[in-house]
Amino acid sequence: MPTWTETIDNLFTTTWAYRKEGATEQLFYSTPVIEFLKKRDNVKTVRGALRLEFPLEFANTSNARWITKGSVLPVTDNDYLTEGKDEWKYIAVQIVRYMTDEQKNRGKYQAIDYVQSKLRSAERDLMSTLESAIFSNATAETINGLPDLIKFPWDSNNNVFDWTGATLHGIDQGTNTWFRNQVINNTDANALTVDMRKMFYTLKKLKNPVLNSLVLITNADIEEWYESQLAAKFQIVATQLKGDLGAEGPLTFKGRPIMSSPSAPSDKIYFVNTEFLKLYYDPEYWMEMTEWKPIPNQAGDKLAQIVCTLNLVCTRPAAQGCIGNISL
């Protein structure tokens, strides 16, 4: 007969085994960026590699030709692909159990509530940590964030963009201009819509721009400003007695969704092309709960971790854009 604490161990592990898939879905849908990547089928699995290696795209093969009878097609494959490399990053959320709580929650239904409450809190931690990492610079521990993948290297002393020393996936963006994303410095908030249009057409000028997978990500203040700009242009359709003075559903810019995320910076709009952004994760080390370990010098208290292995990469920075220095 297992002890109560062993029963709780088992309940946590079994609940998590059943919940893992749902928690994964939840995590992927919890932030706009990952949600759009998921929709675009760009959340990919890689099992057990030393590091992440992925093809980068920066041109076409230019091998398509108009032909007539007997024409010969070029057999040389242009070097349009090169390889990017990056490291796996690991995120772990800790679940701590106190003996006193276990003792108080004795009984089947109390135990279920207790486990749910602890795991729910762990899931939320994971979501918020991931969401915040997406808008932060990578560190030795954290994944690549949008500031790494879609840079805004503004040198405010000289009022120029300075790409010196910028690197992404092992490629020097200072010398390899083809591996830079598009940038616009917004000098006047009144001209932000003009800059947005300018960015859109800059991206459109690229060969094969795949603009249908473009998503604009910003913070809530800029999204609110955008809605206020639209307010005068809303069409009121009175078909029944109900009213809504705000926009329903996500706002769009040229048909592309514009959404906010809590940790997004207040001075930037990211033009994220989800076709060329990928989230890699290792399914073998994904949402894995470790065994329960006793905490030294704390009678009966235990802890376990839920570990995820992932990183975010960009295969074509030129198709991404950032408008920065927005001051509303």
Binding site: W16, E25, Q26, K108, I112, V115, L119
Partner: protein, 209 residues
């Protein structure tokens, strides 16, 4: 010999001389007119107008005749020009035949699509079969594909239906979806909510007491 007769002889002699010069001029004229006709046809084709196969074949036979004439006269340069024209025309004919074939296939596809509702489901299979039976019509390819792979596809559909009904059943057995779990945006039908997962786990762990 009267003056009149002499004049007549002069005219005849001049005509004879002219006759000796004329074949070359005629040849040059013919080549020029053929070249301009081909250019016209090419312009017509590149503007998207339909070229007539008969026109092209008439032109080809004219070029062939003119080439023979030039060979008789020994006009090497003209023969070379005509050979180039002939090659151009033959190419145009090949292109046109290809276009006609493509149009015919497209028409057949549209016809079959209208006739058979599941036509598009067999695209991949039809493509495979077209490699084996290159002369089969589109309709024959569809019927072949359906006969060969139809059973497999309908089995998949039955399986799909079965899975959906099992899923429904599972949900019914479990009762109403708990609202306490984190539910926003959970779009996976098969993924369990936290409350569902905890309930199933508890059933397993606390069974028998």
């Amino acid at each position: 010999m009267s003056e009149e007769v002499r004049n007549e002889e002069k005219v005849q002699a001049t005509e004879e001389v002219n006759e000796q010069v004329n074949p070359l001029e005629v040849l040059v004229d013919k080549v020029e007119s053929l070249s301009s006709k081909i250019e016209d046809l090419q312009a017509k084709g590149s503007e998207g107008e339909y070229l007539s196969l008969d026109d092209l074949q008439d032109l080809l036979s004219s070029v062939e005749d003119t080439k023979e004439e030039a060979e008789k006269v020994g006009e090497d340069e003209t023969v070379r020009q005509l050979k180039a024209l002939k090659a151009q025309l033959e190419q145009e004919i090949v292109n046109l035949k290809q276009q006609v074939l493509e149009m015919r296939i497209l028409q057949e596809v549209e016809k079959c699509r209208a006739k058979y509702k599941d036509f598009d489901e067999y695209q991949k299979e039809m493509l495979e079969l077209s490699g084996v039976y290159p002369n089969a019509s589109v309709e024959d390819l569809y019927l072949l594909a359906k006969a060969k792979y139809g059973e497999k596809k309908s089995n998949n559909k039955v399986k799909e239906r079965k899975e959906v009904s099992l899923d429904e059943l599972r949900r019914m057995l479990k009762g109403e979806k708990p609202t306490g779990a984190v539910s926003t945006g959970n779009k996976a039908k098969t993924a369990l909510s936290l409350a569902e997962a905890a309930a199933i786990a508890a059933e397993e762990i606390f069974k028998g007491g």
